[in-house]
Symmetry: none
Subunit: 198 residues, 4 copies
DNA sequence: GATGAATGAGCGTTCATTCAT
DNA sequence: CATGAATGAACGCTCATTCAT
């Protein structure tokens, strides 16, 4: 597939259709034909832009998570220390998913139903985010804000695991509580978990 | 189905076969016939003990998680404060799954691929564990060890999310690092996140 | 199977259970286990009295139709001419089935869903009835009441076909009209179709 | 399913294949895959033209009986009285089935093995034929040819039951006698059964 | 590039029958 | 005689992917 496909209109049309269809019907009822119909193209057209169904899902995740991560990265650049970075990371993780409920359903629930193989590829995409998180933690340690003996990987697992669990609970409750209002408290718990006792 | 079926030998034989087959072949390739073969019974025999395939999976989760939770609960009863309870909860969560790698693969990766409907039933089972965790947190607050303004639900999501993420990472790395050795550090991070600053 | 099985209590118990179950649940949902339960015996016990499931159905038909035919034959013996015999045959065909609605459902609807092979065996049982009918027709011809050029087989097909269609319609309408009240008119139509023009 | 599917080549190909396969192997051994093979299409193609297996059978009956009934109706329009109509109805009922032995096997024997639900739908199709028959009888009564006190429904049951029984006997004997040659005699029996005594 | 008709592999479940007790 | 747990063959249907137009 030529790289320029990714800039074509139909490419994005199909990915957005996939998000909509999966959020509405669930992963197992998101047939290629349904996605094609939602996108307003023929079934066969899908295969001009994607290698196969799995490729739609990976591309979807790559594109959406790419934006998700980049948005956070950009914001973090303006922060002056790791503490502030942690605060914004938590805030933006929650707010971005709160603002895109369809995407939240897809990433937190539906896409996790995919086969082991696909999940490994999804994890590759997440590696960028993992890096962002670990950088914040390492910076905090370097700045003397976080405990120096903190295991970076473990701390990142706590950070990601906590945020992921919160969002998943929110999606499961069908967004019936305010996700963004939790960020302050969540930030504090994580911060005290990481930082030096004063 | 008569209740005593759950105490019969074949019932457990089939459930253990299901764990083995799912861990080995993955959720989507775990055909009933494969499970039957692994259990050493005929395909039809499965249906003398389980309503359908989904029932095998729910029963599996209920039985294994039931033991998992009960084992932890029993241990926590002997602790004299919430701090100790937190320590053992973390330790036992990790050690129990480390000791049953097949089960870990099934609960952390494979069973999460199940349809939304099944996942809701799985969540019901997890509610017991959620309760155990929230009790520990509430006790810590009552004992004056944890911050009184700590949001119990949020703290529980941090606790569960962290442990779950750690185990999942371990499973994904195919158990190539020592899971149980992480418990001390994990406990400390969570504890400092929860407890009063001294 | 020893012949004396047919006189045993359980033999009849099972056959009556089969009639009940088939009438209630339909041919395709009349599992052997259901019949056994209705008869109050174990599944395996069925096979002490019948070769297989098909044998239950044939035996059922043979027993019930045997009684049906014998009852008619006995009554016809007392008639003094073919005209009267025709009248009673029609009357009794309809009245006997009207009095046993479960049996009517089984013979008119459910048992006809059986495989070709079974239906051939059922036809063997019906040969006795065919004979009774053809005898009446032949007698009518010999007595000079019916047209002598009447084709006996064809006339019998008209006789049986008419009665069978009437009863089937009655069963399909779930017995919502009075079957026996039709016998007079039916008899007249058949009689004029058969008899010499006066 | 779009209406134009019913005019497509494959639609008819599949229905004719179903007739052939059912006539040859019997209702219970007429698997979808066998029908597909006979039609020269893939299994899945069947489901582009039919909702499910039952839909094939209903469509088959509707199409073939539709033609059967229409052919008779057209012919009857040219008749000048009910007597002639009765004659042609009998003649054409027998001749049409005699000319399509496979179809006769399917309608007289095999399709009757279908589940109750399907049979009710089949009966709906037959209602058109029932109407044609009752019209002939009513016309005969109006024209003063048939007895005015004749019960139309009962007479129709005699007419249909007789023809149906004759054809079924012919099919059971595997067409070993000439069906069409019976029409004259059958017509006479039915006519004298219906008409006024002269 | 775009279409959509056609493909065909793959699997959960039922139930008549057996046979050790 | 009677039991009932165990057996295992058999099949309708879905849907990702292809390819002739």
């Amino acid at each position: 597939m030529a790289v320029d496909k990714r800039n074509s209109e139909k490419y994005h049309l199909i990915i957005d259709a996939a998000v909509t269809v999966i959020a509405k019907h669930g992963y197992h009822h998101a047939q290629v034909s349904k996605i094609a119909k939602e996108a307003g193209v023929a079934d066969g057209t899908i295969y001009l832009y994607f290698k196969n169904k799995e490729d739609i899902l990976i591309s979807l995740f790559r594109l959406k998570m790419g934006t998700f991560i980049t948005t956070i990265e950009k914001r973090l650049e303006t922060c002056f220390d790791a503490k502030e970075k942690l605060r914004f990371l938590v805030e933006m993780h929650l707010s971005q998913l709160a603002e895109q409920p369809d995407l939240a359903v897809v990433t937190q629930l539906e896409l996790r139903q995919s086969a082991r193989e696909l999940r490994l590829k999804i994890n590759d995409v997440l590696k960028g985010y993992v890096q962002v998180m670990e950088n914040v933690i390492d910076e905090g340690k370097a700045e003397g804000i976080f405990q120096e003996q903190l295991d970076t990987k473990l701390a990142r697992q706590m950070l990601f695991g906590t945020l992921d669990e919160i969002v998943t609970n929110w999606v499961m409750k069908e967004g019936k509580f305010d996700l963004e209002s939790l960020s302050q408290e969540t930030y504090h718990m994580l911060l005290t978990g990481f930082q030096k006792s004063s």
